[in-house]
């Protein structure tokens, strides 16, 4: 009989499996990326080819698209496991719900949040953003994505197994997305216009930190309720 070390015993295997499932199908990791790329591709079509308008609107549109794309995987984040009984087995094994929520959210961020951040510089250039700023765009998208995923997972856990889950997630999570959106977008604008972007980026990072620190606890507690 082995001793169950929670940190290793739950976090790592769950994390890797989620990562794998998210990409090998069903987890829907790819939808956000397709969605994000689609949004950024449609933007010039809708706004028209005028370069100055694109440049003015681009950073904002990019960051909103990131926020919305991050919201997409949330609906199924816990619901699939809840419906097919996986969560029952995980929970009855004595694993901590906080750990489960943390590893699943982190895995989904790796599966879709990271790719989202990686394509961000590409889309930035497509939307006529200045080429020098691509690394900053990458950094901001990483931080913003972390904030969005960990905040979103609270909404996901609260509404897992609930009627009208979809609208509820949007209603619960989007207001909480606001601070990260404001700081992230303003950092992007600063980078685009060559102003100092460090302050806004630090605030965006603070949002991400708070989300990572609090999110898993809230999600874990909410998941326990969903199982009941």
């Amino acid at each position: 009989m082995q001793k169950q070390n929670m940190a290793e015993g739950v976090l790592l295997p769950l994390f890797f499996r989620e990562l794998k499932l998210a990409w090998s199908g069903g987890g829907g990791a790819a939808l956000p990326v397709g969605f994000y790329a689609g949004a950024a591709t449609l933007t010039p079509l809708a706004l028209g080819p005028a370069t100055d308008l694109l440049q003015a609107a681009g950073p904002g549109v990019l960051f909103i698209s990131l926020a919305l794309a991050s919201l997409l995987p949330m609906e199924r984040l816990f619901q699939a496991d809840l419906e097919d009984g996986t969560l029952d087995v995980l929970a009855s094994s004595g694993a901590s719900m906080t750990g489960i929520a943390l590893s699943k959210t982190l895995a989904h961020w790796m599966a879709s949040g990271l790719p989202l951040a990686l394509v961000a510089p590409l889309l930035w250039v497509m939307l006529q953003g200045p080429g020098e700023a691509v690394l900053i765009v990458l950094g901001i998208s990483l931080l913003g994505g972390l904030a969005f995923f960990f905040i979103g997972s609270i909404g996901a856990a609260l509404t897992a197994g609930v009627r009208r889950g979809g609208l509820l997630i949007a209603l619960v999570a989007l207001p909480l997305y606001a601070p990260a959106t404001i700081f992230g977008a303003s950092a992007l604008y600063a980078a685009a216009e060559g102003r100092d972007w460090t302050g806004s980026m630090a605030l965006c990072g603070a949002c991400a930190l708070v989300a990572i620190a609090l999110g898993p606890f809230a999600s874990g507690a909410a998941l326990k309720t969903a199982l009941d």
Binding site: Q2, L12, E83, D88, V89, S93, G94
Partner: protein, 216 residues
């Protein structure tokens, strides 16, 4: 003999209906408990309570395990109606995940799959499994790591005759090693099993949950 499991006076209700009230029982090493009752009487609900997934409305539940399992909050294996099989993952990959999750040795996977007759189908993805094969895969999960208490919801459902034999042997082996099995059942049961009737409470008893606002 040690009481591994002590359940005293638990009650549960769903929607507006009380399913059962003040159910008490206990199990000691080697016991097989059969939960019996009509469809919808609350057997699955009771098993979920025992697995720590659902809260009982009242009453208490205690596991008393000796030895090196103190770090296990719940020393149980739970096998519910829902089997937690991922459509896109192969049989073997699913077992590899559970082995890691339960910190079991990977070498346990092959014997477990062979035991339930799925080793030859280890490459089939979850969505390709037949109803009985799904059940067998869930059972294989119990075999990769030892946990003293097995909570099984209709373990014989969907299995063919050979499969039912296998389950009976597995259960006999588990209890002979000192484990406890609690199983919700219809139809033929196990040898030497204690039967626990799960019944709707009688009309005479009034439904007043202790923490109800009705007392106000």
């Amino acid at each position: 003999m040690v009481n591994l499991l002590n359940v005293s006076k638990i009650s549960a209700s769903r929607g507006y209906r009380t399913l059962f009230r003040d159910l008490s029982f206990s199990a000691s090493t080697g016991d097989i408990l059969e939960l019996r009752g009509e469809n919808g009487s609350g057997k699955s609900t009771l098993l979920r309570i025992l697995a720590g997934l659902t809260r009982a409305e009242s009453g208490s539940l205690k596991y008393e395990i000796e030895g090196d399992v103190s770090s296990l909050k719940f020393p149980v294996h739970f096998l519910g109606h829902q089997d937690g099989i991922k459509a896109q993952e192969s049989v073997e990959d699913q077992m590899i995940f559970w082995a890691r999750f339960f910190q079991a040795d990977k070498a346990e996977i092959r014997p477990a799959l062979e035991r339930v007759g799925l080793w030859k189908r280890r490459d089939v993805p979850g969505r390709g499994l037949s109803a009985g094969q799904r059940r067998r895969l869930s059972l294989a999960r119990l075999l990769i790591t030892y946990r003293p208490i097995w909570l099984l919801d209709e373990p014989l459902a969907a299995l063919d005759v050979k499969g039912q034999e296998i389950v009976k042997e597995l259960i006999a082996k588990h209890t002979s090693e000192g484990g406890v099995v609690v199983a919700a059942m219809h139809g033929h049961g196990f040898e030497n099993a204690k039967v626990i009737e799960v019944k709707p409470f009688s009309k005479k008893i009034k439904t007043i949950p202790t923490n109800s606002l009705e007392n106000a």
